[in-house]
Every structure is written in structure tokens, then in C-alpha cells.
Homo-oligomer: 250 residues x 2
């Protein structure tokens, strides 16, 4: 019997995402990163810089998924409230962490380690640090929750540090077929093939852009043979439709 | 007394976002769109193509915010399950909608309106259609929930159709100051200014990119005078720090 793949949830913390100031790219990066580990990202949430909202999201997701990843809110400024919120979510104290203080002290010399910067060393009790090669300030892991920076470059570096801690799942195999045949013409075939191949997931993604109209059909599954078999059947269905078809939408 | 600004939640529906295949841009677009209407986007969630997950997210958000927007899952293929899920969430029947069928019939001639395409005319009872100029298939509004396509071009067109239905809030004024001064050097000043100006929200967003290191300080608020006053104070604090400062991170 095969082991169940690990699951994950993502929490993006930051007013700047919800105000439209910043396009979140961390969720997409995490999804691809976890994909390479065979870990299924099941849900993502964007919450504002409001402690109660962070606590609610963390508690909802950490009981539900094997891993929870958060980004944002661990810097030195007043709007960086994630560490305190996580401590409250786990109902543990938070205080200056000696290892984190040492990291900051090695980075900020000669009085540069002011009180606000020291806030970045406040870590909930029982957490272990997440190091990164870009900035001195660490993230932290508490139980199954990984708390990371929001700056993409730092978040990426933190994921490298986290990687060895993650249980891997069987990888997902993906095949993509592109066609200019309208989605509505192949929909019945896709439904029949999906029904006949329940071990794979078939997604149909139309696009409308400056290059025209088309569909990407994506087959995903953990058994490579099943993915290939379903892909072959879809390819046959597409070829049958492409003969004499005309560009059309949906 | 001023009226309370309208609030909104966003639900992105689609396995392709969670698998890392597709970078969601609809949330960002919606955030900016709503910003222009003075509507506050309070939360966003990404859920998979799983009916129970869609229902849970819709019911959680529609009771909490003035408006809920969904994108994805209203096309003709087997993985397009949003309309049925919304009907279940509202506990109303779903059937072919005459107006939607007429739209599709005008687009798909001579037998092209097959059974799978007809699925795009299945609309929950009590909903009103959301038209768009790109494809024939409509979205729909049921109570305070707006159900839109996932394809960005279509989603954008649907928002144009929705716009007249939305109650506007007082607009948010935003001022952004950029500095190469390290975030940790200005953090104490920002905290003091935030405390002295509770009617505005001050965000501090460091960046680390190929151009170097810096911080964008963003002041947001519904009272322009308050935003200007806080911005002036931050500008003074930045100028005081910039004298003799050196590039540094966090």
C-alpha cells in the first residue's frame, strides 16, 4: 500500500497583497517547490496584517494539513506582527531567542542592532529557526508551521533551508497537450476519458491572448503509466477533432 | 457620520493555481479594481476544483463580507463545477437558464451548441447573469456573490459588467515614499508616526532586487489630510536618516 502524499496549506500575510499594491508570487513559487517534493498544496489564503485574522487562518490550516507555510510580517517594523500572532495561535510565550539575537548581532555591528531590529529575534517558545543566505533575520518553524519572510528572494532562500525537514511524497507526473480546437468540442471526450481514468486528474485550461485562442489539457497523476494512458486517449480525441476544425472559443 | 466602506472577499477556484501550473493574477486585478471603488478586499482564498471546498469557502466569506467574487470553473468541461457548487452553497436548484441559452445559441450555430457547451447555461435559481464582451458564456450574481470566469481577459470584461451593481466607498488615498535607508533604521520613527496617526495605515515594504536594497513606505487612508500629514512626518524622518546613511538591509 502506498503512503498518502503530504498535504500543505499556504498563508500569505500582508495588506499590500489585498490592497493591490503587490502581486503575490510566493504562493506560485511555493506550489512549484512543493510539487517537486510530491507535496500537495491544498489551499492558500491571503490575510491582512491583523492579528486575529492571522491566528484564525493558522489554526484553521495547521490542524488540517501536514504542513503550513506563511510568508510576510517578520521584519523590524510596526506592521510586522506575524511572530506574535503565531505565538498566540499556539498559546506559547514569545521572547528574544538567543540564537536569533546572535545572528542579528553578527550582522548589525556598532550599535546598529537597535530595538526595532531586535524584534526580528522574537521567536515563539519551542520554535526552531529557519536560516537564509540573504538576510540575517531568521524565520522559524513551530510544529508543522513554517514562518517565512515575504520578500521573495528571502522566502526562496528559507525554503532551501526548510527542504531537508519535509517528508516527500510520490511525485506527480504531468503531461500537457495544447490544441487550437475549441474547448467545447473536446469537452465530452475529456469527460469520458476522465471517467475511465479516475487515478488521474484532467484539467482543461482555455486561453485567450494575443496569439489567439486555444486550450491546454493537463493530465496529472502519481502513476506514470496511468498518466501516459490517459494522455494517449486525449491525443487521439484531439487529432480526431483537429481534422476539419476551425478556430473557435470555449 | 461616514458610512462604512464596503468589504469584499475573493475565492480563486482551480487546481491549476495550487499545482503551480498557473500564476494567479485575478486576485491582484480585483484588488486594484475594487480599490478604485473604495471597496476593501479583506481576504482571498485559493481552493481546488472540489465541490465541498468551494461550498465551504463561499459560505464562510459571503456571510462575512459585503461582496464575494469567485473566478474559475464556469467553462464547458468536466472540471468546471463552480455553478453547481454555488447552487449547493445557497441551497437553491440549478437548471438551464433561458437567457444564458439564448446567448450561447447566438454564438454557437449549426449544431455547435453541444451538451457540454450547454452546461455553461446552467445557472442557480435566482441568479442574474454577468455578461462579457469576450465570450458568449455568462457569469452570474446570486445575492452578494459574483461568479466569474478564470480566464483573465474574460474576468476583466465581467468586472466591467458588474461595476454598476457595486456600492462605492470613500476612496483610499495612498502615498508612497521610497528610500535606500535600511528598514531597521526608520522602524522606530515609523512606529511612532503610526501611533500618532491612527486614521492611516503605514506599511513598510523592503525590497532586495537587482537594483539593490531599499524600502517603500506606503501610507493609506480615507482622509487625504491625514495621509498627507503622516507622509510629511515620514518624509522628515527619512531625510534625517538619509544624511550619512549607508546602504544596508532590513
Amino acid at each position: 500500500m502506498e503512503s498518502v502524499p503530504p498535504t500543505a496549506g499556504m498563508i500569505v500575510i500582508g495588506d499590500e497583497i489585498l490592497s493591490g499594491r503587490t502581486q503575490d508570487t510566493n504562493t506560485h513559487y511555493l506550489a512549484r517547490f512543493l510539487g517537486a517534493f510530491g507535496i500537495d498544496l491544498k489551499e492558500a489564503r491571503v490575510v491582512p496584517d491583523v492579528e486575529a485574522e492571522i491566528i484564525a487562518a493558522v489554526n484553521a490550516l495547521r490542524s488540517r494539513y501536514d504542513y503550513v507555510f506563511t510568508t510576510g510580517g517578520i521584519g523590524p517594523t510596526h506592521d510586522d506582527i506575524t511572530a506574535g500572532a503565531i505565538a498566540h495561535a499556539f498559546e506559547v510565550p514569545i521572547d528574544y531567542n538567543a540564537e536569533a539575537l546572535a545572528l542579528l548581532a553578527s550582522r548589525y555591528k556598532g550599535g546598529e542592532l537597535n530595538d526595532m531590529r531586535k524584534r526580528m529575534a522574537r521567536i515563539p517558545a519551542g520554535a526552531t529557526l529557519i536560516h537564509n543566505s540573504v538576510s540575517a533575520a531568521p524565520g522559524f518553524q513551530i510544529e508543522n508551521v513554517f514562518v517565512m519572510a515575504g520578500v521573495p528572494l528571502i522566502m526562496h532562500a528559507m525554503l532551501e533551508n526548510i527542504a531537508p525537514r519535509l517528508r516527500r511524497g510520490k511525485p506527480v507526473h504531468t503531461r500537457t497537450l495544447s490544441t487550437a480546437v475549441a474547448e467545447g468540442r473536446i469537452a465530452a471526450s475529456l469527460a469520458a476519458i476522465q471517467a475511465a481514468h479516475p487515478s488521474v486528474s484532467i484539467g482543461s485550461y482555455p486561453y485567450f491572448n494575443e496569439n489567439g485562442v486555444g486550450v491546454n489539457v493537463v493530465v496529472r497523476g502519481r502513476n506514470p503509466q496511468d498518466v501516459e494512458a490517459a494522455t494517449d486517449r486525449i491525443q487521439e480525441a484531439l487529432m480526431a477533432q483537429e481534422i476539419g476544425s476551425k478556430p473557435d472559443d470555449r
